[in-house]
């Protein structure tokens, strides 16, 4: 991922936070993490509830990066 250009005008933030945006890619594209049926949750096999879980997780991470970079 290319680094954002420094624009100088605002308060700077810790660029390491941007790495948070990489996590959904790692955790959703590495299939051995979750292509399994157990543990099940409310009748949902792991493969399915894990994906649903990542919807809010990813949004929270992006939201956090929005907070620290604005």
């Amino acid at each position: 991922m290319a680094p954002l250009k420094k624009d100088g005008s605002q308060r700077s933030f810790n660029r390491a936070w941007l790495l948070l945006l990489l996590l959904p890619y790692i955790f959703l594209l590495w299939m051995p993490f979750y292509a399994k049926s157990k543990p099940a949750l409310w009748g949902f096999p792991l493969f399915y509830w894990y994906q649903f879980l990542w919807v809010p997780l990813s949004a929270l991470m992006t939201g956090w990066v929005y907070r620290v970079t604005r």
Binding site: L21, Y25, M31, W42, Q51, F52, V55
Partner: protein, 530 residues
């Protein structure tokens, strides 16, 4: 039951289509601007705040065809159909990082299209033409698929048969679309996207809560689905098998990287009132992804409910018809049709913008005033829609599906030009052009070869798997060519072209950052009015 007209459902359907027609036609008065100018007609004056953008991009990205095709794929092919969920999750970090930059530079230089940016950044009208043509070619079959979505929902009302009269409702829906697009521009689909959002949410919440409850809970749904999938001749397991790991992941990644390069999504993004609106929406839009996940589950619900259809695309309408009372199934079909009108409208507007700005103005008549630009864009958007309608009425819908798959491969080949271009000017414009051309040829060739192979499978949609894998493969080759040729072309001293943008064009404006402090939490709905 499917062979006679369902009057209650039809009445509900007609009511909502009429509502949409009225709202769409009057939308031009909303935050009134001079619709004779392309920036007003084609981008609604770049003044949409967080909430409007949320509905607009949501209505634009989660198309009606998605609502039909994703459950159909899950119904027919099982776990692989769920790639749509990771796809629409990982798309947003990408949107967050990339799209505000595109918005800022486009605002400063009055770019209307991605090809406008390409032209300004690389000083190359050929590269801009490549981006424009790729965008238009990828979008037209996509419009056709939206019309297929309308067709499927109309057929479910009972307008069946081979006679031409069964096409009349589709033509009426098409005229509504053409009418509000022409008169209201982007404000049309933007206002209808509110209706779409509410309707689709209502349908999905009812379907995913009420139906499994009626069928005995999700544990039961998964159990039955697992059983039925395993007993089919294809013997698909409920959990993604190892051999589908790579197709699943590459399909999700390729789709996520390609999505916001489509002209209709670029149009929605550029109509936002600030880069901050886009960044906020990258946080808020996953609410629609959650909805899409629930919609994907409907594929398993349909299996558990014992729905049998000849064509997978009919799964969702057939299930609605089987499980709901007529008035609510009519509402559901209307939601699908309205859901098709929003993206179809934006897609044709985006094609109109591209053709006008990057083909007509460049190659046919250079001195166009904004008024002429707007007129041409309106006419082209009409023409594009008629092309898509002809496709649906006289062609085989399978062609539209195959072309749309190809379109996904093609559009991804513009990523190095567009996305790398937003961050660096390191790549040589000719290297990018050659990379694009190689990627287009390789990707199309691979899809062509794999289309033959997918014929082995009972489901044509299974071809999606391999096609998108081809998109990623072609992209890697495309990037390798561009990276290898760049130093070479620089070494022989080939002109690298001009660049009318400067680094500060892409940076967050102080006012944008300042505003964030001032009215945090408030939706800047009317800011940026010009």
């Amino acid at each position: 039951m499917a062979h006679e007209l369902n009057w209650t459902a039809t009445a509900v359907f007609v009511f909502f289509m009429a509502l949409v027609a009225v709202v769409g036609l009057f939308a031009g008065r909303w935050r009134r601007g001079d619709l004779g100018e392309i920036e007003e007609w084609g981008l609604a004056g770049r003044r949409f705040g967080t909430i409007v953008t949320w509905f607009l991009v949501g209505g634009d990205f989660y198309t009606a065809y998605t609502l039909i095709a994703v459950p159909a794929l899950v119904y027919g092919a099982g776990a692989i159909g769920f790639f749509a969920l990771p796809y629409t999750i990982i798309v947003y970090p990408f949107v967050f990082l990339v799209m505000p930059r595109l918005w800022r530079v486009s605002r400063r230089h009055n770019y209307i299209t991605l090809a406008d940016f390409t032209h300004g950044r690389y000083g190359s009208h050929w590269l801009a033409l490549a981006v424009a043509v790729t965008g238009i070619l990828a979008t037209i079959p996509y419009i056709a698929l939206q019309l297929v979505g309308i067709q499927v929902s109309i057929a479910a009302l009972g307008f069946h048969g081979s006679s031409w009269s069964s096409d009349v409702p589709l033509i009426i829906a098409f005229l509504i679309l053409a009418g509000f697009d022409y008169t209201s521009g982007l404000r049309g689909p933007a206002s209808i996207s509110f209706i779409k959002g509410v309707m689709v949410y209502a349908v999905v919440l009812v379907a995913v809560i009420w139906v499994p409850w009626k069928l005995g809970g999700y544990a039961h749904v998964f159990q039955v689905a697992s059983h039925v999938l395993a007993s089919r001749s294809t013997r698909i397991p409920l959990i993604l098998p190892r051999r589908q790991f790579v197709p699943f992941a590459t399909l999700a990644l390729g789709s996520a990287l390609a999505a916001f390069l489509y002209p209709h999504l670029v149009t929605s993004i550029l109509s936002a009132s600030s880069g901050r609106v886009i960044r906020r929406n990258a946080v808020l839009l996953p609410a629609f992804t959650f909805l899409l996940g629930l919609i994907a589950l409907l594929g398993f619900v349909a299996i558990a409910a014992g729905v049998h259809v000849g064509r997978p695309d009919d799964v969702v309408p057939a299930m609605f018809q089987q499980l709901f009372p007529p008035w609510f199934s009519g509402f559901c079909f209307a939601a699908i049709a309205v859901g098709a009108l929003v993206p179809a409208a934006i897609m044709s507007i985006a094609c109109g913008n591209l053709f006008t700005r990057n083909i007509y103005r460049q190659y046919i008549s250079r001195d166009l005033n904004p008024r002429q630009e707007s007129t041409i864009a309106k006419l082209v958007s009409l023409l594009v829609k008629f092309g898509a309608l002809a496709f649906v009425l006289f062609g085989n819908p399978t062609y539209a599906i195959n072309l749309q798959l190809l379109g996904g491969i093609w559009i991804l080949q513009t990523l190095p030009v567009a996305v790398f271009g937003l961050f660096t000017r390191w790549f040589h414009r000719r290297a990018l052009f050659i990379g694009w051309a190689v990627g287009m040829i390789v990707g199309s060739g691979m899809a062509w070869a794999e289309q033959m192979r997918t014929a082995v499978y009972p489901l044509k949609l299974l071809g999606v798997t391999f096609s998108s894998y081809a998109a990623i493969d072609a992209l890697v080759i495309n990037m390798a060519v561009a990276a290898a040729l760049t130093p070479l072309l620089n070494a022989i001293g080939v002109d690298a072209g001009s660049d009318e943008t400067v680094p500060s064009d892409y940076a967050i404006e102080p006012e944008e950052a300042g505003r964030a402090e001032g009215i945090a939490g408030a939706a800047p709905v009317s800011e940026g009015a010009s």
